[in-house]
Structures are given as C-alpha cells and as structure tokens.
Amino acid sequence: MNLRDLFLRVRALVAPRRVEHELDEELAFHIEYDTQRHIANGLSAADARARALARFGRCRLSPTGVATPAARP
C-alpha cells in the first residue's frame, strides 16, 4: 500500500458520500459526453441517449441526473 492508496482509502472512509457522488458524476459525464457525440452525428436526443446508455452498459439515471447502477437481475 502506497501513500496515495492510503490517502484515497482514508478519504473514502471519512467522506464516503462525497466519493460516491464523484463516482456518480464521473459516470454521468461519460454518458452525457457520448450522448452529445451521437447528437452531433445526427441522432435525436432520445436516440442519442439510448445509444449512449446501451453502449455504457446496464446503468440508469436517478431523478437528479446522476448515474446509478442497474439493479442486479
């Protein structure tokens, strides 16, 4: 375990919600970026979002627009 690893682990223990939120934000950004790319390529907003979500995987968005994992089947 290096210092960076220790720092990240302690941070996640001390501020778990912040770490969770940052992960959600990172994944939501990925989907949004992919959506915008598909729109730029001519897809409708709905189709672009569907394509981005399908490409990303089994992920859904919460009402706050934050990506959350799909429920386990």
Binding site: L13, R17, E25, E26, F29, D34, C59
Partner: protein, 158 residues
Amino acid sequence: MLQSALGDYPGTNRDFGTPFQKSACGGPRRLGVDSRHQPALVSTFDTMARHAIPDLLPGTLDLLILRTLQTDSLHGWAISERIQQISQDVLQINQGSLYPALHRLEHRGWIEAEWAVSELGRRAKYYRLTPSGRRQLAVEADEWERMVAAIGRVMKLA
C-alpha cells in the same frame, strides 16, 4: 465481478452489470483483452459465449491506459475513444472495466486525477500519468515488446 473490483475501495459497492456487456456499436471484429482482474475489451461477436472471448494478455488494459495518458490528460470517455480510434475500431474498451481500471491505477499511484470543466461546460475527472506511472509504463512496454517478439518467434517457427 465488477463489484469485486470496486468493492476493494471503501465507499464503493457497485454493480454496473456484466463486463461482457453487448456492444451497441456494431462494426468490425473487436478483440477481447484481459485486464488484471477481468476482461476489459469485448468482442462484438455477441453469439460468442463468455469463455470464447479471445482474451489476450493480463494487464493489457492497464498498459493501454498508461500509454494513452503518456502525452495528455484525458477523461474516461476520451481514453476509451482514443484507444478505439487508434486501434481502428479493433479494440473497444468495456466501460464496466475502464473505470475500475482507472481507479485501480490511481490507487497504485500510477495516474492521478483532477476535476476540471470540460468542453461541455460540465465538471469532468481528468487523469494524467504520474512520474511513477511513467516508469511503470516503460517497464510494461518493455515486457509487452518482449512478449510480442517471443510469440512472433513461436508463430514463425512452430
């Protein structure tokens, strides 16, 4: 599988689904490359069973990520896209493996992350190589070259 990868980190307990997620992109054949913990790149031969995915060498995803970040600071989407473009669509990173790999590399101190405003006007997490990561890239690149050369020799002579 993915959950176990992220579950190592306090505050995360995720299941983004199978890393063998069916691609919606279509296109040419894409190779499956095994990361250290799970397959990271998937084939669009979707009729293939999981076990039939042609995994290559362990650690390949880490090497690709480190190499992609050698010159630029990039967010996850851009890393994925750059690998796909440079490989001429042969390699497509499974997103369910990309982010655990990024976080794993960050924990190892080989890359570091910084939040910045992207061209979308929205915050994005940008990754860049650390000095330690640069040294690791050199080591892994050498190992890769040695492995490729060894396989090449076998293929020519066997």
